[in-house]
Amino acid sequence: MVSSLAVDITPSSKAFKLFFNHEQIRTMSRVKRRTTHPPYWHVLKNNQRDDEKISSDNLRFVREVIQDKYKNKSPIKGSDLGIEKTEWDPKTKRSGVIARNIGMQHMWEKDGKKIICTVLQVLDNHVIRYVPPEEYANSVIGAKMFKNRKPLGCLVVGAEATNPDRFTRQYCSLFNEVGLLPKKRLARFIVTPNAALPPCTPLTAGHFVIGQAVDVYGKTIDYGFQGVVKRWGFKGGPASHGATKFHRRGGTIGTGRDKARVWPGQKMPGHMGSERRFNRGLKIVRINMKYNIVYVKGTVPGPTNSIVQIFDTILPRRKFTEAPPHPTYFPPEDGTLPQEDIWDSSLHVFGSPSISV
């Protein structure tokens, strides 16, 4: 009956939204938004056994073994790179970085305008392995991603080295090839083959350029089970004037006529937050090389002290025009230290004289 009309008002068409007053997006209602368990191909990560009654001598021995196994490695120099020096081109996709959102700070621009910046601490990132495009296209996720496209490689990066005692043997074995202390966090970054990095390469705040735009991925703040007013922005009911038990409720959930049931995707109370989101096109305004800190103009998904991933932006008008540190940043060979605190040209540096307009 609906399709016999001159205007196509099936739910997926644009006219549907013009014709009907309600703008609820019902097509995504069946998609599962969050899980509390990891994918089936992940190995068990955290140590499941209880604290056994190990004697103090044995405990000391275990610690010595760990120290011997994971002796400190010297930092990788650019000249030690296993692969040939590759050229950067505008279509290159570089690796991203795992960072922690450590809070927000105010900064001021040169004309006195105040901006809010998020402070991101780039953790101790190391490349764990590189999966070439042909191999990655055969994996579960890779096949889905590159169904009708040219496949790209995948870089597995880890951050936050921890005591191997916390993890299972299977999880620690992921790091055996590299010889690094097991990392608490792992992430995959899709890279073009010319931006591939050898295992054990450290990634630092110098990977980014001042003034570049980045995308930050994170999981939003978990608000728990929330009502309709906070979750969907409903107006609720009047606070007084005789309203009986109708202050923060949803009201009507459908008409009696059309379809005669509640449509899927109807906005109702439920779990809010803890969802994967990207904030795109955020500008890097300041980099602190000593503490590996990146200051990003704007806000980032997730609460303070949560883990985020930072990538070069995909927004077409804010991409790189000049070559960035490719494939990543390495400290200069001659041992000169980089500038510790790098500011964007539009920002007022705190040690400089007051602004006069």
């Binding site: 450590i102 700070q105 105010h106 001021w108 002290n305 705190f350 004289p353 007051s354 602004i355 006069s356």
Partner: protein, 284 residues
């Protein structure tokens, strides 16, 4: 050389606040910790003189590294401009760069009625009555547009927040805009002004009878107001140790924070005093 020694002796004198008058007065001291290494301890008055160095106590937003970086930025800004010690009730003058002013600078004199914020977000509100119109301006202490902050009269009042001046008679908030800096009689103690302010007749902006104000004259309200205030009051809150613990930074952490910034602040103070003394000598 004599000047430096004289200034050094000035700094060694205790700068106690009125609250700590009578208690032990300590200046910069080097104590020994358990391992026997000398540890620099800032004077306890620092938590009143520089309250914005203490972070927001809410644990969800705390991160030691970010707080440390913020303190470094604050010290950088303080090296450029002098942000003097002031309290609620002090009369101050702030000069701000303003594109719309004829001189490109705008100067405002007022009494500080409230201060808050932590880190680079620290702010204070100045109030004055100009042409019979009450004016309040909120200034962010670390904003780079601020050219100069002067404390014309350094004193404290009986309350931490003077928002009741909005409901008081205008003479209590009026200060001449060309007021000059007053010399401090006693450099070591910040005086408390025990003035009791007279409020205008009701209606008021807030229910002042419920707020236990010390600096206000008897409100002369009907008894029913005081009865309702008693009913609504929470007298058990002063016994709630965890509530106060959650609202403040623990003393050990405060000591660590001020020990970190203390030496830099002292150096800046010394440089400024030398510059002032040199300028005075040059004039002579």
């Amino acid at each position: 050389m004599a000047i430096v020694e004289h200034l050094a002796s000035l700094l060694r004198k205790p700068i106690e606040t009125s609250d700590e008058a009578g208690e032990r007065s300590v200046s910069t001291q080097k104590t020994e910790d358990e391992s026997g290494n000398t540890v620099i301890v800032a004077p306890p008055e620092f938590r009143f003189m520089y309250p914005e160095f203490l972070p927001d106590p809410a644990p969800e937003t705390r991160n030691r590294l970010r707080e440390k970086l913020e303190r470094m930025d604050m010290l950088q800004r303080r090296s450029v401009i002098e942000i003097p010690e002031f309290y609620t009730g002090s009369i101050m003058a702030v000069t701000v760069a303003d594109a719309n002013s004829p001189n490109k600078f705008a100067r405002f004199v007022g009494i500080c009625i409230q201060r808050g914020g932590s880190g680079l977000r620290a702010w204070f509100i100045l109030r004055n009555v100009v042409d019979k119109q009450g004016v309040e301006i909120l200034y962010e202490m670390y904003c780079p547009l601020i050219q100069k902050i002067e404390v014309l009269r350094l004193e404290r009042r009986l309350d931490e927040s003077l928002l009741y001046l909005r409901d008081a008679l205008p003479e209590y908030s009026t200060f001449p805009l060309n007021m000059e800096q007053e010399r401090r009689l006693n450099n070591s103690v910040v005086p408390i002004n025990p003035i009791k302010v007279k409020l205008r007749p009701r209606p008021w902006l807030e229910r002042w009878e419920r707020q236990n104000l010390q600096g206000v004259e008897d409100l002369n309200l009907p008894q029913r107001f005081y009865d309702k205030a008693e009913k609504v009051a929470k007298p058990w809150e002063k016994y709630d140790l965890m509530l106060h613990y959650r609202k403040t930074i623990p003393a050990e952490e405060q000591e660590k924070i001020f020990a970190e910034v203390h030496s830099q602040l002292q150096q800046q103070e010394l440089k400024r005093k030398l510059r002032r003394r040199r300028g005075f000598d040059n004039e002579q």
